[in-house]
């Protein structure tokens, strides 16, 4: 089988993305964080971060087609990613470990045309993550004043984003990615204090402590969801959006 896919997770360092793009101009890029419905190979413990499970399930399902995996292992991703990269290396994958911990010198000057746009929240998150490798210009998108905030990482089940109004702004890691500084703690933890915000985390993710801390600090709603949100999880978000 012909190898024609570059896999990646998180936000690999920009120069490495450019280098691999020029080396493999016709390769298809696939974000291994996302659930594509491939079989669960039960490589990781049953109760574990769903995003990490996605990485393993996708990698093994696509193994014969994967040229390389770009594997962020720094503060721009998480500790689990480092272990994942080492384990996948031992399983025969061609892994390039990357660290993208650049700090922004002035976070008031970052450009966030998608996070603050009038697009539906799900579309915002999809565009931002796609733009890791597409690198398109969205600077002409109409901007909005936020009625709500969504803080966190892209959820495993993106359907929860459809509960939010279109003038919801993105915060957390999603915002840091759009800004081009996925490992910048100040950008990741920035919140507009007057904007009612939902602090989302994937269950068993180490960012849970950050989400809980920020939810308490800014009087937002802490929500952690495992694989698929229950009706109660969705209803909890709906109630917050209605009552605030």
């Amino acid at each position: 089988m012909k190898k024609d896919i570059i896999g990646f997770w998180g936000y690999p360092e920009k120069n490495i993305i450019s280098k691999i793009k020029s080396e493999y101009p016709f390769a298809k890029w696939i974000d291994l964080d996302i659930d594509y419905g491939y079989p669960d190979i039960k490589f990781l413990p049953e109760n574990y971060c769903t995003i990490m499970k996605n990485i393993f399930n996708n990698s093994f399902f696509l193994k014969e087609k994967l040229i390389k995996i770009l594997a962020p292992i720094g503060k721009d991703k998480c500790d689990s990613a480092y272990f994942a990269s080492e384990i996948l290396k031992k399983q025969g994958f061609d892994i390039i470990q990357t660290v993208f911990e650049d700090k922004c010198s002035d976070i008031t000057k970052i450009k966030l045309p998608v996070s603050k746009s009038n697009l539906p929240l799900r579309k915002k998150v999809e565009l931002i993550t796609k733009n890791i490798y597409e690198q398109k210009d969205y600077s002409t998108l109409p901007q909005t004043k936020p009625s709500f905030g969504f803080w966190g990482v892209p959820p495993n089940d993106l359907s929860i984003l459809e509960l939010f109004p279109d003038d919801t702004h993105c915060y957390g890691w999603i915002r840091a990615v759009e800004a081009g500084y996925p490992g910048d703690f100040d950008i990741e933890t920035y919140v507009d204090k007057d904007v009612p915000t939902i602090f989302f985390t994937q269950a068993f993710c180490s960012k849970t402590q950050l989400a809980k801390y920020l939810a308490n600090k800014y009087e937002g709603l802490f929500v952690d969801i495992d694989t698929i949100p229950s009706n109660s999880s969705k209803a909890k978000i709906e109630a917050f959006l209605k009552l605030r």
Binding site: E219, L221, D226, S230, A239, L243
Partner: protein, 220 residues
Amino acid sequence: MNKNLEKYYIDAGTTRTKILKITNNKKEYNIIPSSELKKLNILATKATGHSIVKTKQYENEVVALANGAKNYLLDDYVALDVGSRDIKWVKYQNKKFKDMDWNTACASATGATVEMLLKFYNVDLKDLKFTKEKYNITCGIFGLEKIMDDVSKGMEAKIAISKFIHGIAYNAFNFTKNPQKICLSGGFCENKCFIESLKQYCEVLPLGSFVLVDGLYGED
């Protein structure tokens, strides 16, 4: 089919369905097992809850709770609803919404579990009495294990279940972020052991099982 003059406000919970029927401004409250709701073929005017079948309009459970308990929320009570499979609460401050939460995952320490325990050990609800001791039931399954352990060592089942209920009350108090006053909604209002246990931590005002249907009606 509904007669023209009748309106139905329905809170269809996991095990029990609470119904408020309005006929010519006359209110009639009823509770039926949720498994029977389908057979009644009622089209609700407005409804909430996991088990609803047919309704003209659906309302979120926490919103219905906030509307039904509004007078108490304005008086700085936290409104807490303990259901068969979940717990939810809402808080106001300075007459405005302030905070809320809804336990969305573990249902092993709520009403349905207590009902199952009573049936399993053949204990009557009225025989449960407040006990100072409680089980730590951060995980309800571990709590069940403790009941079984203690009963096998000779403890009366009604005492063990009371300790479990005290644990639920303590969890509810922590889950609501330790308020001074709680107004309680749901079937646990009939559970004196639970009320007594919760009173160890804060002031408790039981409002009964119809808070959510009153909230649905009040919105119209």
